[in-house]
Amino acid sequence: MNQALKGLRSLFTKDNTIRVPRDTHLSDRLFKYALRFNAWLILAMLLAMFLFLLELSWPTLREFGFSFFVKNTWNPPLDEYGALAFIYGTLGTSFIALLLSVPFSLGVALFLTELAPKSIAKIVGFFVEMLAAIPSVIYGLWGIFILAPIMQNTVQPTLIGLLGPETLSGKIIGSLLTALFYPVAFVYSLVAENAPSIDAMFDHFKNTFGGPAFGVGMLSAGIILSIMITPTITSITREVFLTIPKGNREAALGLGATRWEAIRISVLKASRPGVIGAVILGLGRALGETMAVTMVIGNRNEIDSSILAPAQSMASVIANEYPEAFDLQLSSLAAVGLALFIISLLINTAARLIVWSMDRK
């Protein structure tokens, strides 16, 4: 009797679903192998991507080595290449995008989960999610013809007037940023000779909002990106907020907290890892975004002290120059792509691990 029970029990897994022992029919085994082949194909694809990119960029890596990624020069006629300006452009635009999008996205996610009635949350949620479905070339088109003129005629002149290098606030920004980055320059001066002086740094940083107003440029690209990553951050933080049991909020309210305090204590604090994961995922999207950035960043392969000025990102330089490039320029662009690939792998892995660990709780 006991034996029989044991035998019956062994047919089920712990969560009481039936255990499928070995596939008994030959056809079942073939079916499984065929499906598994597809699965391995996807795994192989990721690996192949890395290897092919490495192969494409090999000439550049052999010629310049790691210095390729810290050199600020891009000169096809002389065959001298360095990616620093593009790395700067990518980091700059993504940073601006996060700065604008994170508070907005968090606010919207809170609104959707905590405040809005269901019917309104549905509509607003739909509007935000649809932003993710718009092809990026349409953002680019909109950026060139609608956003850029507004930036050129209104936003940028205002910014230059308020925060430009001639104004007091511009000088304050310059001093603050100089103070912030001086330690970096100091460490750099220990290992290299051409480290910038304090005066040079101040002159550079006080021009953060320097003119002229081009319309296209790093700030415009950052603004477009901020719109594009908003749905990513909003939808993930929203999911995270929803995982927090209603009782937690009620407990806080019951202890006499105001609604905002209840949100802060029981929702925001508890979901911090998830929110960080969402922000990193947004960053991942911003770093790799190509078309919209290419169309509004202005495409200048230099580092400018002003964030209003045209720049170039890693993705946009590939989009711009790859079709006409050959030899060393081609492989240099591929090397930029390889770097972008590795960065996006690292960032997305990190973000997913964080969000997943949140799910398990």
């Binding site: 499928v20 499906l35 996807i42 919207v108 092809p135 990026s136 070339v137 349409i138 088109l141 790799g288």
Partner: protein, 286 residues
């Protein structure tokens, strides 16, 4: 002792509360703005630029007025068809594997890899397709573009297929197995066939996504101005043509870019609305 007396601290808390809630509501109201701003401009600029010629004519040589984007529309259809040819079997197969053999190590690894692959920047996929197809063949071609789009499509499709198959309750599979039906027939004829509407929606959704991709096509399918000339030849596509026209100095091409954007946007909208309806049905049934 008067318990109701409000200290300054209480008043401050109340004010903070009002301010914070007010701010959240304002942000919530602002959330619909970007979508409206983009949509309205596409409507205003795109609709007047639409004409029959837009759909039926190839681009005219510079200096001649008129012409349309027939080449790009045909090209996009061909590229999407090619990528479905490559991507559907792999994506669906991997999705079925993840759903039906979800307990295997391969499945877990695959789920992670698919998510990572989905977030690889599309321009990188373009470089990959360039290395795999364009470089050996020494020519831009529809094949290369289709391959690039397939690489983007596969992980998306695999994940949606998995999600959809998992909506089928476990006892239905068990019922099939209990009748002595081989597992592969249970999977294909009961699980897969039973969620066909959902699978189809997933396919349409991934098609909508790749139809709007530009970056991976720039140096794979490239583009042309004279219509389809064969799978081994450069092939035009709507997104790439929007990009090229938007950066051109001609007003007429700008108008056509708006019109093409309008068409893309409408397609994306319809597909997404459709998906919502179908998915709601699926979830409601189970």
């Amino acid at each position: 002792m008067n318990l109701k007396a409000e200290t300054g601290r209480d008043i401050r808390r109340k004010i903070y509360n009002k301010l914070a809630l007010g701010m959240i509501s304002v942000l919530g109201a602002l959330a619909i703005m970007p979508m409206i701003l983009i949509f309205v401009y596409i409507l205003i600029e795109g609709i007047p630029a639409l004409s029959l010629d837009f759909f039926l004519e190839n681009p005219k040589p510079l200096g001649e007025s008129g012409g349309g984007m027939a080449n790009a529309i045909v090209g996009t259809v061909i590229l999407v068809a090619l990528s479905c040819l490559i991507g559907l079997p792999v994506g669906l197969g991997a999705g079925i594997f993840m759903a039906e053999y979800s307990y295997t190590k391969t499945s877990k690894l695959l789920r992670f890899t698919s998510d990572i692959l989905t977030s690889v920047p599309s321009i990188i996929v373009g470089l990959f397709a360039y290395a795999v197809v364009v470089k050996p063949l020494k020519a831009y071609s529809a094949w290369a573009g289709g391959f690039a789009l397939a690489v983007i499509m596969i992980p998306i499709l695999a994940r949606t297929t998995e999600e959809i198959l998992k909506l089928i309750p476990h006892h239905i599979r068990e019922a099939g197995l209990a009748l002595g039906i081989p597992r592969w027939r249970v999977t294909m004829r009961i699980v897969f066939a039973g969620s066909f509407a959902g699978i189809l929606t997933g396919i349409i959704l991934s098609v909508a996504r790749i139809a709007g991709e530009t970056a991976p096509l720039l140096f794979t399918a490239f583009g042309n101005n004279f219509g389809f000339r064969g799978l081994g030849q450069p092939t035009a596509s709507l997104p790439v043509q929007i990009y090229n026209y938007a950066l051109s100095p001609y007003k007429e091409w700008h108008d056509q870019a708006w019109a093409a954007s309008f068409i893309l946007l409408v397609m994306v909208f319809i597909v997404n609305l459709l998906t919502r309806v179908v998915f709601k049905d699926q979830r409601g049934e189970s």
